[in-house]
């Protein structure tokens, strides 16, 4: 506004410094714009070169419409039975529960070593680096790798999923631990309390809400991952049925039904997490 409205600057204020340029663009803004511009260019390039040569987009979208109609308006169990599907769904939930619990316990103890306010900094840095590396490798690859060592099945799935959970939760937990005030820890140190009693009596009670909420988020992730593992690595859960229905039997109706089942679980989980959060907000 100021830049644009100066028809005759000399006449207006002769005593003011001549080239006083008032910029509305700050440095963070500039960086922001640059980043967005670069991302936009990459996207356009990417869309232009997307491999869709063997694809007639109009036909594809039309068939998508037909398929979605078959999936969501006419779901059915297909060649499997309700019993099989529900059992597979329970297996997926169990996988998620198991890997989250196992991961949470292991992660808590590792996180104590990774928190800068508790552990020596070489140890904390070392653990954090290893965890960052494990986290950077997608869960599904860990499961596939372990399925070679342990044979395809539940054990490989559990170990692979747990691996990634631990790495994720160590980061979350150790950051929560680092947020507890150094002063309260010092107060107990000053009265001669040892390391582990401080961890369990002072730090743990302070961060329980944060731990719960991270663990629950990880549970939701693990459920989605458990489905993925079934589809990609052949663990005997709902993901496997989804994969078979989609890739082998081409049964749209069954895919639709399974998606509905997954949605149902997801909605229940979201309700539980809202309840949990509400419970803790009330108590804080």
């Amino acid at each position: 506004m100021i830049e644009n409205s100066q028809p005759n600057p000399n006449a207006l204020q002769p005593s003011a410094p001549k080239s006083k340029h008032i910029s509305l663009v700050t440095k963070p803004r500039k960086i922001l714009r640059t980043v967005l511009a670069v991302l936009a260019i990459i996207s356009i390039y990417s869309l232009a070169t997307l491999n869709s040569s063997n694809l007639n987009l109009a036909d594809a979208f039309h068939s998508l419409g037909v398929n979605l109609n078959a999936m969501f308006l006419h779901p059915s169990v297909g060649q499997d039975s309700w019993g099989q599907l529900l059992q597979a769904l329970v297996t997926s939930v169990s996988l998620a529960l198991l890997t989250t619990l196992l991961g949470a316990v292991v992660a808590f103890f590792i996180a104590v070593g990774a928190a800068r306010n508790l552990a020596p900094s070489w140890l904390a840095t070392g653990i954090k680096a290893v965890m960052a590396f494990i986290r950077a490798i997608p869960t599904i690859l860990w499961v596939l790798i372990y399925s070679v060592v342990m044979g395809i099945g539940a054990s490989a799935a559990v170990v692979g999923l747990t691996f990634h959970s631990v790495a994720y939760l160590v980061k979350a937990y150790s950051e929560s631990i680092e947020e507890t005030s150094q002063d309260t820890i010092e107060a107990l140190k000053a009265s001669g309390v040892g390391f582990w009693p401080i961890v369990f009596q002072a730090i743990l009670p302070s961060i329980v809400p944060a731990l719960l909420s991270w663990t629950f988020i990880r549970f939701e992730i693990n459920f989605a991952n458990a489905v993925a593992v079934g589809a990609a690595a052949g663990a005997d859960d709902i993901g496997y049925f989804l994969f078979m229905a989609g890739n082998f039997y081409f049964n749209f109706h069954e895919v639709g039904l399974i998606v509905y089942l997954l949605l149902g679980v997801a909605i229940v989980l979201e309700l539980i997490s809202m309840k949990l959060r509400g419970h803790y907000l009330k108590h804080n």
């Binding site: 010092e186 140190k189 000053a190 009265s191 001669g192 040892g194 369990f200 009670p205 329980v208």
Partner: protein
């Protein structure tokens, strides 16, 4: 009796350093350390229970040198030194009762400490101590629901739970209003008299120090400039304690600005 002899501590910057600090504090008395901010009051207090490692000197508590203690011995000594803080440093989501019982953790084995296993007697004692500081009806309240003055009293009860010989108080009333200040200081003086404790307090309010302390230690730029009974403190002494740093260095920085 607490006896500090020739205590030295050097930091990179001159601030908070200590130079040959000597003083004594007697059981049954309130001893106040006063001085301008940055003079080293906190450093002295934290050296006494070795939260800060000093460079040289002796700290004798009932003739035992705290500085010579190894890790295990130091934990035992610390267990008999209570400490209260400007920001109370309680575990907020826990109840007042649980925070008071934390005073016993230092006396327990690692496993009992981790699980927080307290005896019935300890639990009754914790409640009695809360009663003593006037907070019995708040025993089952979360600490972050208590006022600052109440939290500080929980802190005092936690320190008493350690069965201490001495309580170190690091600016205990700096965040409190006048009314709470009076309550807290009255409690501390009463404890010194009745339980024959050594009460050592860092204070930046001179008037409070003169009102409550029996013994005053004045410190300026890391060195003791006065030590004696409170009635010996006069304007001249206060000027000596609170005079501005007059080294040539200070003048140079003043000119630069």
């Amino acid at each position: 009796m607490l006896k500090v002899i020739q205590l030295d501590k050097t930091y990179g910057s001159n601030k908070h350093s200590l130079k040959a600090v000597n003083f004594t504090a007697q059981p049954g008395e309130v001893t106040a350390i006063i001085g301008p901010s940055g003079a080293g009051k906190t450093t002295i207090l934290r050296s006494i229970n070795q939260l800060i490692r000093d460079d040289s000197g002796q700290i004798l508590l009932d003739d035992q040198d705290i500085r010579q203690a190894n890790k295990g011995e130091l934990r035992k000594i610390r267990h008999h030194i209570g400490m209260i803080f400007q920001n109370y440093n309680l575990i907020n989501p826990l109840t007042a009762l649980e925070n008071v019982l934390h005073g016993r953790l230092g006396a327990k084995s690692t496993v009992a400490g981790m699980l927080g296993l307290y005896s019935d007697d300890e639990k009754s004692e914790a409640l009695a101590l809360l009663d003593e500081v006037g907070l019995k009806e708040y025993a089952y309240q979360r600490c972050d629901q208590l006022s600052g003055g109440q939290q500080q009293r929980v802190g005092i009860a936690r320190a008493l739970m350690q069965h201490p010989k001495m309580i170190l108080c690091d600016e205990p009333i700096a965040s409190l209003d006048p009314k709470s200040t009076k309550i807290v200081m009255d409690i501390l003086r009463k404890l010194a008299r009745e339980k024959q404790l050594i009460i050592l307090i860092n204070l930046h309010q001179v008037d409070i120090a003169l009102e409550y302390a029996d013994h005053i230690v004045g410190i300026n730029s890391g060195a003791i400039v006065f030590e004696g009974p409170t009635d010996e403190v006069n304007d001249g002494v206060l000027q000596k304690i609170y005079r501005q740093a007059d080294q040539p260095g200070a003048v140079v920085t003043a000119n630069e600005n």
